[in-house]
Amino acid sequence: MLQESLIFEQDSPGSTGVDLPDLPDVGKPRLGGVAQRKSVGLPGLTEPEVVRHFTRLSQKNIGIDSTMYNLGSCTMKHNPRLNEKVARLPGLADIHPMQPIETVQGALALIDDLAEWLKALTNMPAVAMTPGAGAHGELCGMMAIRSAIEHRGESRTRVLVPESAHGTNPATAASLGYKVDTIPVDKTGRVDLKALTKMLDSDVAAIMLTNPNTCGLFERDIARIAEAVHEVGAFFYCDGANFNAIVGKVRPGDLGIDAMHINLHKTFSTPHGGGGPGSGPVVLSEALAPFAPYPVVTRKGDVYDLVESAEGETKNSFGRLKGFHGQMGMFVRALSYMLSHGIDGLRQASEDAVLSANYIMKGLSRTMTPSFAGPCMHEALFDDRFLKGTGITTLDFAKAMLDEGFHPMTVYFPLVVHGAMLIEPTESESKETLDQFVDTLNYLAERAKAGDKAYFAGAPYYAPLRRLDETAAARKPILRWTEDEALRNAAE
């Protein structure tokens, strides 16, 4: 495929893609003694050049609009364009966060209505709306937990995290100064309850558990885990990354959890946008609710208000987590998704996601090696035992999928099985697509077992680029374009 040069290499000095009004004559600038800048170093391009550049770049990408994008634990489901349309209504996109409260009653009502949905779907009494993404939600939940522990005059130093957890869990706990202890996983892919019980004591602040877990399995002992955690005075943080498997089927509040973040981009289909923006509201138990971050939307009758500091009802709030009031643009899209599905559609979506994952697990069991016995929830975990002796790795297998037109599954995660391949089809795929996917992977698995190592090692052949050398890129990182010839040549 044609190489697309960088915008900096397409510079025609003086060109621009905007036509601006003439400057009024107002005399000298008034910059308070700071010197006026004479140049930035940006390239000049006209509008058609910019449009073509980014259109060409887009063609080097695939998204859920292009193909099944079965990244496990990432939940790549259909992104309805209606959500984009309503998020762009001037009454929602063109409002400033510090406008007088009377002029943003609709915005506050929308946030409050979304909060009510989240509370009802989880059966939890409170929700903190401001976290900017899932990992930010984890930080929020764990800060609430630490606040509650400190409020009762205790200090605890340990947080327990299963070895199958997302990397953000231990990173979050460690960033708050906790010592992270790893809970082993048992032979069925679930938390080892006996081992966990032994690890629990009055120094444990919380357990951080994903349910359904990252092996795609429901933690059968969840109620007993919650009980054991609460018995030692610790809190149960649930990573809600996989909430999409159980919406309308199971309410996390019924499982005894104290806090859970909800990735709106996973469960409620706000677009992933190449890696963000996200939004990570956190539902909280009665015990944690008083410590939630501000700002908080409040309601009296039909009138909404915004509490922007620790005062009155929010006097125990642990503080602010980000600028302004949360990811409004994502709230609009998520609520649009919820209203479109309704509770009937949300429940059906979870069922279809689980059904599709089990269908794939069954269909691939002929050639590949599922790591644990089913049924699985919304994602199916395989390991690389089926590649044993072939010299072909999980990565090679994933790259070969690119040539078949599918985005690969999540690879090498979770860490509890060797060469993991975590497949999440979601509810958005038709049976025809699922069948095609299963046929393709069975074909590749058979080809791998037949010993076609060179083919896999060389894949992909038909993607916009051949395999990239990530190791070399990290050894001598080039993180920006520069006019410096020597630096550019070193890379080429």
Binding site: A173, P271, L479
Partner: protein, 449 residues
């Protein structure tokens, strides 16, 4: 339900092939008493597009959008014109519906624009390198303090009284939980504080904003020298990134880390989010940076390409030893930023920044003529603090009723500081018309009579 492709026939044939009787057989690991038999009460059932659009039109209709008023708000979120091309590009499905570029061979679109974004941010801020974006300016600011603490192995940060209160509060939250000290200077509406005095050999960094909350730009060269003389780092925050088209960039003044809110370029106000945090630093500090980084790479045939790199800093590799717990960035907002800045280019950005400033001068001269009104700024970019003889919040509320959104009262940030109650932050951009200015001036005249 229009979003769900499986038919009832598909479902039963799939269940057959799995060997399950009903879908609830697949949920059999859920304890029976926890599995809901019916729909959750009190929530509505599915709706068609038309009905959903009506509901959102109702929410939208209960707000006053900036475009329906004479609009002068800023204070960390700015209303600028976004060219139609920007929204077209970011809605292309290949960008909108892709994820973090874990498979670089089919993600070169995302990766190349992130590389371009990083370069643009480095150029704008006058720094060596930038990351692939953060949640917003406030969280970027807090992360910068953590990074400075790591680099200096010290744990006391000095924060300017001109720093946006949300940036200060976000940093304060982390300080409390992560355990470092903050020296917070009082709000400084007249730009008279002396930060150099506050630096000692325990100071990890000084955090200062330019133009600051009250609109004052500052030459920070001397402050940078004072920091470096004591082994501390200078963190410069910029909430109005458009100002970097007119003002000397922080990098040229000696900043070690620059954090900024990038919303002004390419992104709508969105009631405060999502926005896009910019984070730039010196080459030598790159391995202590938080967030994603995109780097240049070569493919098996020798072609240039791009990959996510230095991920050994990040949580998915390092887990509890990561530099930050951050996973998500603001990818699509970063794309909007990059497309808009590509359209502006050198000539467009410089002119647009000048236009913002010139239009602000026009309003400032008119404000200064009003009886009882004092403009506190000697210098400014596109935002000034106006001191009124009455509480600014009341005037703002009253003007809002006549469709003049006059600015942000400083008391909204500092409700307990009576001495600031008359202060109003007023912003002018290229969006502000002469008629808007007339409406503000007339409104203020009447309110102050």
């Amino acid at each position: 339900m229009r979003y769900l492709p499986l038919t009832d026939q598909d479902r039963s044939s799939m269940l057959d092939s799995i060997g399950a009787g009903t879908v609830d057989d697949l949920f059999r690991d859920v304890p029976a008493d926890l599995l809901l038999k019916d729909r959750i009460d009190g929530l509505p059932t599915h709706k068609g597009e038309l009905e959903v659009e009506r509901l959102f039109a109702d929410y939208a209709g209960r707000n006053t959008p900036a475009g329906d008023a004479a609009f002068f708000l800023g204070a960390g979120a700015y209303r600028h014109h976004v060219p139609a091309t920007v929204d077209y590009i970011i809605q292309r499905g290949e960008f909108l519906t892709s994820y973090t570029p874990y498979q670089p061979e089919v993600s070169q679109g995302t990766l190349q624009y992130l590389f371009e974004f990083q370069t643009q941010v480095a150029l704008l801020t006058g720094m060596d390198v930038a990351n692939a974006s953060m949640y917003d300016g406030a969280t970027a600011c807090a992360e910068a303090v953590l990074m400075a603490n790591r680099l200096t192995r010290r744990s006391r940060a000095v924060m300017s009284g001109g720093l946006h209160p949300h940036y200060a509060e976000t940093t304060r939250t982390l300080a409390r939980f992560i355990g470092f000290d903050l020296v917070e200077c009082p709000p400084d509406p007249e730009n008279v504080e002396d930060l150099a005095d506050r630096i000692d050999d325990k100071t990890s960094c000084v955090v200062v904003q330019t133009p600051d909350l009250f609109g004052h730009p500052s030459d920070l060269t001397a402050l940078a020298e004072a920091c470096h003389a004591k082994g501390a780092l200078l963190i410069v925050a910029v909430t109005e990134v458009m100002s970097l088209g007119l003002l000397t960039p922080p990098g040229d003044m000696g900043a070690d880390i620059v954090v900024a809110e990038g919303q002004s370029i390419g992104n709508s106000l969105n009631f405060g989010g999502p926005h896009v945090g910019l984070f730039a630093t010196r080459q030598k500090f790159v391995r202590q940076m938080p967030g994603r980084l995109c780097g240049q790479a070569t493919d098996a045939e020798g072609n240039r390409g791009f990959v996510l790199t230095l991920s050994t800093r990040e949580q998915h590799i390092r887990r509890e030893k990561a530099t930050s717990n951050i996973c998500t960035n603001s990818g699509l907002c970063a794309l909007a930023f990059t497309v808009h800045l590509s359209l502006l280019g050198e000539a467009g950005l410089l002119k647009l920044a000048e236009l913002n400033h010139a239009r602000t001068i026009q309003l400032v001269d008119r404000l200064a003529e009003l009886k009882g009104v004092k403009v506190l700024n000697r210098g400014f970019f596109n935002e000034v603090t106006v001191r009124l003889p009455k509480p600014a919040a009341g005037i703002v509320d009253s003007l809002a009723k006549r469709r003049v959104l006059a600015g942000v009262p400083v008391s909204r940030f500092y409700p307990d500081r009576a001495e600031l109650s008359g202060d109003l932050l007023v912003t002018v951009t290229e969006m502000t018309t002469d008629a808007d200015m007339d409406a503000l001036i007339d409104g203020l005249k009447e309110e102050l009579q």
